[in-house]
Symmetry: C2
């Protein structure tokens, strides 16, 4: 399989990649903060006008990596466009790994790899709707995030990003979650 | 493939599992702290009397999960036995995921899954040799940990645990490490 670091052979319109099963790369942000000493996560709800997954829960900011843009550069751009997060704050986001998966729908096959970032936000920070890709933002406690993941209200790959956050930060316990090992492996499929 | 949560069909001596290719589970601890504001990691060097990987670098504490013991229970036990970490301190370790891999040597096939924990240690804490499985402990800066991973001085699966730590804590950058995505996927092979 070609790698992210391989020199590009040619470029194409992103919407066409699914016809060829080409792997796409993107960035997703877990934006988290504290309220009354409890950890909370900022989530967006996708606009009803989005062609894919309208009205579903999304991470605070996310977007595909276009030709010529770097990984962190894409994240900072999406943070500003989607959630009005100032670049100086977005640049403090920490890269924490990737999630990888493949899905299929009527449009084709979608192998994807998302570079994941965590950003701890000041308590007083509030995201605002930017370019209209999100309709609203919510601050949820982590138990509510777990419920949202289980409910199917999330855009599926965004649920994986939030699940990865819960695991990496110790909010799922290997002695209490029977499928802990399978959940971690399921977040990192290489094919 | 059977899962960690499946009810056991029977128990066997751990040394025999490689003959049957049975997946083994264990726990590994990333013990880290700060020196003059810089993050550092405690690593052990395995005793020369160990039958496997004698004299190689290891995580601060690690061990296989035996019949009847829980994941966290195993970690706390190994912390005390190998590095004299008091149970009350070891119990503060945070579960942060798993690494999964399969290797083969002259003894057989070893599919393994390690439950990974991070423990932030007080600056004044120093591990001590316990049951003699380790001969010495070192406190290394994270650049030195990177060099040790690249040098081959590590027991291989312990290098994966340390690499996973560096990635999760943002000490590798997706824009600077060309194989970032492949490194993350390589830490989580399900077969």
């Amino acid at each position: 399989m070609p790698r992210f670091c391989d020199p590009p052979l040619f470029s194409m319109e992103r919407a066409a990649t699914a016809l060829l099963g080409v792997r796409c790369y993107g960035t997703h942000l877990n934006g988290y903060t504290w309220r009354r000493g409890r950890p909370c996560m900022w989530l967006g709800r996708r606009a009803l006008t989005k062609p894919t997954y309208p009205g579903q829960l999304d991470n605070l900011a996310a977007g595909g990596i276009a030709v010529g843009l770097g990984v962190t550069e894409t994240l900072v751009k999406e943070c500003q466009e989607e959630a009005c997060i100032p670049p100086a704050l977005a640049a403090q986001a920490r890269p924490v790994g990737t999630i990888s998966y493949t899905y299929e729908d009527h449009r084709g096959i979608f192998p994807e790899c998302q570079f994941v970032f965590d950003l701890e936000l000041p308590e007083e920070f509030e995201p605002h709707v930017g370019d209209g890709e999100m309709q609203e933002f919510y601050l949820l406690g982590l138990d509510e995030v777990k419920d949202a993941i289980a409910s199917g209200d999330f855009k599926p790959n965004c649920a994986l990003v939030a699940l990865d956050f819960l695991i990496r930060h110790g909010h799922l316990q290997p002695d209490h979650e029977p499928h802990y090992a399978e959940l971690v492996e399921g977040l990192h499929r290489s094919r």
